[in-house]
């Protein structure tokens, strides 16, 4: 759970941003700039935008969960509310033609999200823990339910839609094309991510951690645990609202789903999958999850099965989330022993991966066998066509799976060994002992 700060402060670089902190940002921004040239199709852009939005939302969520230790089951509310407000503003801009340039819309969302957070937070942040969690759940359900009732604001089941292009053009951009929207979104992504990162470095941000660990002690250091929570909550609400604004710009429609429990739940899953302990964790989580949801679901009807399995396995074996897996390698890297891991990884992780694919294939072929239309015996996996009604493919898949897992199992000992050594300054005795 150690925060990335501990790694930063080691460099004792008080004042002045060290290259260590600036570099990642520059690199990420650069990547964002070139991505559209790598993935040019509109759908790729759509999905990347969706990712960006989710990232902002997940980061905002982690301000609560990771840094404030507040577990919320209703955070969709703040994103959704922000989004709905933006939709309405978008429409006003259209009808009253108010001169509000589209790129500023997310600010509106942010402010509205923060407004909501201020109201709800005023009573929900009194305590963390179960009470907070359950209040957030209740509020979430209430708002979601009222969204189908209060048609005037939420537009009922159809939701509220608008048209981003009717606002006044900015430097000649009307945001007709996806690419324009992409750069708008990416810009906001970098900006809000940076702001959230800096927030975690401010006194409030630091105290959020303290309050998370031991609210009472914080009181005796001059800080009111409640106010600290409240501030992080509002900040989080703001960025959630920004995400909502971006959503409004991208999809030009908001509906009940932007508020409901499913959305609130998945952002929790996303954040955790990425890793709550590290600032960049949620980013990874958002990317992976979006891919699973929008791309994997094109490949297989069983995608939810795999998602479920992914979560179960992640928490069981990598409680630090994907980011945790990455950070695990920092120590070996510092000791310059990352190289020693390559071979064992190759010998263990590779077969394991194949084994897992094999397992998945097994599910697929079984699913096809059970549910495919009569006579449609042929299916294709990884580009290979075969009939699910002939024994051969079954034998092959089962065989491959078992063999791979066996190999992985056999080599895992060696991996553990090397892993141990890679984490200590040397002296095999210590390494072997873990």
């Amino acid at each position: 759970m150690t925060d990335t700060t501990s790694i930063m402060t080691k460099k004792r670089s008080y004042g002045g941003l060290s290259t260590g902190t600036v570099a990642p940002w520059v690199i990420c921004t650069a990547i964002l700039l070139v991505l559209p040239y790598v993935f040019q199709s509109n759908s790729a852009l759509t999905i990347m935008n969706q990712m960006a939005i989710t990232i902002v939302f997940a980061l905002a969520y982690n301000m609560l969960l990771g840094q404030g230790g507040m577990l919320s089951f209703g955070h969709a509310v703040y994103m959704g509310m922000g989004g709905f407000m933006c939709m309405h503003v978008m429409n006003w801009v259209e009808y009253q033609n108010i001169p509000l340039p589209l790129p500023l819309l997310p600010v509106v969302g942010g402010l509205f999200g923060m407004g909501m957070a201020t109201i709800i937070g005023s009573f929900s942040t009194r305590t963390a823990g179960t009470v907070f969690a359950m209040i957030s759940l209740g509020i979430g359900e209430l708002i979601a339910a009222s969204s189908v009732i209060v048609v005037a604001f939420f537009g009922g089941e159809e939701g509220v839609s608008g048209d981003r292009t009717y606002g006044l053009p900015v430097f000649g951009y009307e945001f007709l094309t996806k690419i324009e929207v992409y750069y708008l979104t990416a810009g906001w992504l970098v900006l809000s991510a940076l702001l959230m990162y800096l927030f975690s470095r401010t006194p409030v941000g630091r105290m959020a951690n303290a309050v998370r660990d031991n609210p009472e002690r914080a009181q005796f250091l001059g800080y009111s645990a409640r106010w600290v929570r409240f501030y992080s909550f509002c900040a989080s609400g703001f960025f959630a609202g920004v995400a909502g604004g971006l959503f409004a710009i991208n999809f030009e429609i908001l509906t009940e789903e932007n508020l409901n429990l499913v959305t609130s739940g998945s952002i929790l899953l996303i954040t955790f999958l990425g890793g709550v302990g590290f600032f960049f964790g949620p980013i990874i989580g958002a990317i992976v999850f979006t891919l699973l949801q929008s791309v994997l679901s094109l490949q297989t009807e069983l995608w939810q099965l795999y998602v479920g399995a992914l979560f179960v396995l992640t928490v069981m074996y990598f409680p630090g989330g994907l980011a945790g897996v990455i950070m695990m390698h920092v120590a070996p890297y510092k000791l310059g022993k990352l190289g020693t891991l390559v071979v064992p990884y190759f010998k263990t992780v590779l077969p394991a991966a194949i084994g897992i694919l094999g397992l998945a294939s097994f599910c697929e072929i079984m699913f096809h066998f059970k549910h495919a239309a009569v006579g449609e015996n042929d299916m294709s996996l990884f580009g290979i066509e075969f009939s699910t009604h002939s024994p051969l493919p079954w034998i092959v898949i089962v065989g491959v799976t078992l063999v791979c897992f066996w190999i992985a199992k056999r080599n895992s000992a060696e991996l553990r060994e090397t892993w141990g050594n890679a984490n200590v300054l040397s002296s095999p005795k210590e390494g072997g002992a873990q």
Partner: protein, 252 residues
Amino acid sequence: MTAALELEGLRKSFGKTEIIRGVDLSIGKGERHAIIGPNGAGKSTLFNLITGRFPQTSGHVRLHGHDLAGKAPFEINRMGLSRSFQITNIFPKMTVFENVRCSLLWSMGYKYSFWNMVSKSRALNEGAEEILEQINLTSRRDLPAGVLSYAEQRALEIGITIAGGADVIMLDEPTAGMSNTETDYIVGLIEKVTEGKTLIMVEHDMGVVFGLCDRISVLVYGEIVATGEPEAVRADQAVQEAYLGAALEAEH
């Protein structure tokens, strides 16, 4: 001059049992004052009342003449009073360094600001490093505080308390669980950092008490049975029976 801390007819009951039964006590500025007494006498409770952890049932607590009635712990702390806990109370998941740095934030005037970067303030970080030096935990700087050994955690507890540089410092059994040698070191440290400040401590180690403090109050069953110079208290018959018993011989 007004006393640094003044207790007047202070009472506290939990349910029907009255734990603090009317304590009157006045501690002057710059005084080092020890509160001793049998287990369960109410020393920690007294601390909790003063620091606003519990509301008192009746009576007054005054810090530099200001009544603390109804003030929350954080408000009292901002008025320049800082305390440590008998049962270690730190931020287990944060690094030792972070623990100390957080305890400096308010006193250095950062308050709830979200426009300052903690990592940028030289004063803040060097201040924290300094404290670490003083409590001999520099070597454990980046470990999560939760994994320190018991005595190390006690040291950190004290570090967090004195870091803020409050002018009234209350320590609840600072040397508990420390070996004699550690004890000597910590006592020295306390002596140093509380120079010119007001110190109120609860301690069962008579050596420490008599070595460090200007005045001593003996609390027995929620009442102060004696207050005065160490020698006077030591001589006091009532105290002998109620508390010290054969201890003195044991210690000296």
